[in-house]
Point group: none
Chain length 419, copies 2
């Protein structure tokens, strides 16, 4: 299957506050055809640099898509630069001029002299009509060392680009490409570090280049993408089967989602299915757990509320945690985490409660090392339980992980046979 390279032209795309978003649309469309994007490049409005970039792209990619720089002004250099890179001339197209003139007449606007620049096309190019703007596109087929290449020139404005790609380029591309199917598998994993996970599963995926395995890690949240390409659904599925079942076996219940859902969404679905309600009691995370749970639309079906208890007095006065317990065990203890969860449940009447207490640093208040976090769980008719973790990172990292670990402990508890 051929690879593609996308080149976005425009000096404004090299400033500190602009990103090229056209390439995201194009990537999505290309992937659906089985074409991978090997590189994406952004170049300013400089004829020599653009020409060089096109030349480099043609050396590696069978499909080169160039966006932007097709306007009527002097700094629209794409037409010239592509002609340079291909060693071809620009030629004036009578029919493009006619089309431009017609368009300006239709909108009752005078056509500026420099719009005539848009009537030029690279020798041998097929002009692509642009019903949404003035810049025609171009479809150029070429041979590089006996390999066929396609170069597409598309306008920069997203509406024009998308329309032209869908209407003109997709049908042409589909005719050129061998029939092929991509099948994917996606896992989200909580409660493991990236290198621990990689050590566990890399012996499984490493021997294979198809499927391609990509691992993306956030704090305590890892995404694994498997992508297999084949001529048919069956072939692609068969390739996936070489590694997917073994990865699933190794990760077991560490996998919390196979469809991209977030941990909080998975928990919400589970609570809704159980017709159960939830409350929280947070110390070191200060509301992060509640924030994540309430990020899900419709969470009022199961989330009641909770308590932020940032010091010992709040733990006793707001929640009703026994002062003696705090004195004996300190706030960062399994006894107190259990009591926080139980008290929150009692005060709110929720079916389940999660609590977090810990040392997020930079200083420790209880003597427990920074990173010590205790997660408590309570549920109607269940014995409360708590677990102590040593979490990694600075204050922000520890707090992020604490909320993530709490959600994951809750998820696994809800999924356990206890219920």
């Amino acid at each position: 299957m051929p690879d593609a390279e996308i080149i976005a032209i425009g000096s404004e795309l090299l400033t500190a506050d602009k990103v090229d978003t056209n390439s995201l649309y194009l990537t999505d469309q290309l992937n659906a055809l089985g074409v991978e994007v090997r590189r994406k490049l952004v170049v300013g409005d400089d004829r020599a640099l653009v020409s060089e970039a096109v030349h480099q792209a043609l050396a590696g990619a069978e499909i080169v898509i160039i966006t932007g720089g097709l306007g009527p002004t002097e700094d629209d250099v794409t037409r010239d630069a592509v002609a340079d890179a291909l060693g071809r001339k620009l030629e004036f197209r009578e029919e493009l001029l006619g089309w431009l003139t017609e368009r300006f007449k239709r909108f009752n606007r005078p056509m500026a002299e420099n719009n005539k620049r848009q009537a030029y096309a690279v020798q041998g190019a097929e002009a692509l009509p642009n019903p949404r703007g003035t810049a025609p596109g171009q479809w150029i087929e070429t041979m590089v060392e006996s390999n066929g290449r396609v170069v597409m020139l598309l306008p920069g404005p997203p509406r024009e680009l998308k329309g032209m790609f869908a209407e003109e380029c997709l049908p042409r591309l589909t005719r050129r490409l061998p029939p092929q199917v991509i099948r994917t598998r996606f896992y989200r994993v909580a409660g493991m570090g990236e290198s621990d996970l990689d050590q566990l599963i890399s012996p499984v995926y490493k021997p294979f280049t198809n499927p391609v395995t990509t691992i993306l890690a956030g704090p305590g949240d890892i995404q694994i993408h498997l992508r297999a390409r084949g001529a048919t659904h069956e072939e692609a599925d068969g390739l996936l089967q070489q590694i997917a079942p073994e990865i699933e076996r190794l990760l077991g219940d560490r996998i919390y989602s196979r469809d991209g859902s977030s941990l909080e969404a998975v928990i919400g679905e589970r609570l809704r299915a159980l017709r159960a309600t939830l409350c929280v009691a947070e110390s070191c995370t200060g509301g992060w757990l509640g924030e994540r749970i309430t990020s899900i639309p419709g969470c009022s079906d199961y989330f009641l509320g909770g308590f932020l208890v940032y010091n010992d007095r709040m733990k006793t006065e707001l929640l009703g945690v026994d002062a003696g317990l705090l004195k004996i065990h300190t706030a960062v203890s399994e006894a107190v985490a259990c009591a926080m969860a139980e008290c929150a449940r009692a005060k709110t009447g929720a079916t389940f409660a999660v609590s977090i207490t810990g040392e997020a640093g930079p200083e420790s208040f209880t003597g427990a090392p920074v990173g010590t976090v205790v997660i408590g769980l309570a549920g109607a008719g269940l014995v409360p339980q708590a677990k102590t973790y040593s979490l990694f990172g600075d204050r922000n990292g520890i707090r992020t992980r604490a909320a993530q670990w709490a959600l994951d402990d809750l998820r696994r508890w809800l999924d356990s046979s206890a219920l």
Copy 2:
């Protein structure tokens, strides 16, 4: 002045839903030094492709910054690829291994075998410490056809990248670049939309290309950077004076920080100075306000805790808001916001309380339009007050802004002459 090229490494950056944002930060920083970015490239985790890209970049740019691909796994190919491109070897660095071992020990985690990959550096490279993660960076100086080049290898996670660039690369770059003085002014502004702000101040800054004015907008939080370049401090300061005082006058107390401090840090300082304490009562934000306040180290000096009250029953049972008030005014009303703040203050004994209640969508429960958010404030000896806002965005955007508006209302209240 030399040009730069930025290469982002990572197959995930070639998918249809990820963009490289690190290059925006880097562009901003480079521009401030007078360095222009000539190209930006995204390449997948492929050793040969990355090596080729580095090779091409070195042919044209004096400064090449490569981000990502420095992790411990097999698909982290940056170290190898850069060594290939430069025709150098990778060498094992005892001190990097020591640093990694020490870091894992400090966080009480076992070090996986493959983390040792991160102890390798390109021959002749200076290793750059990474206090925020496990991937050390590298600073490599080289000669290409008698021109000095600098290649920087920086970690992909934005926090690590920014920290390392600011602390390690900026000082080294400044020493290499021709002498030039840059003077900056920085403002953070809350409670205004970007286009309102731009309409207000663009007549002041637009006529000037030096200072350069950069406006970076987040939801309800705008950063304004002014950067003047001159041969001397006096010249650069003089240039700044052409626009800075007028911008400050126009924005007035909308400016909450001149040193980059976050809103929650500014509030923390103010509360500490007043020897006052704070609590929260949150409905639609579900903990986001508490999370932001507690993101500041040492916030236990002034933050006590609070209540997450996600439905009417919790507002009456946990906080003690009068049920009649809820019935008459609904939960999204100034009367209820005031009562929430007053009740939270009464229950915790805090000097001040902030409350948030609103409709974050997608559906409205009270009939108030989605985006309606009411912020309440209460303080010892003060009459409680509330304000109603129509906030913009999807659920996430409305919740982000609600927390931001609440913090800003509190800040301006604390700064008002009332206290």
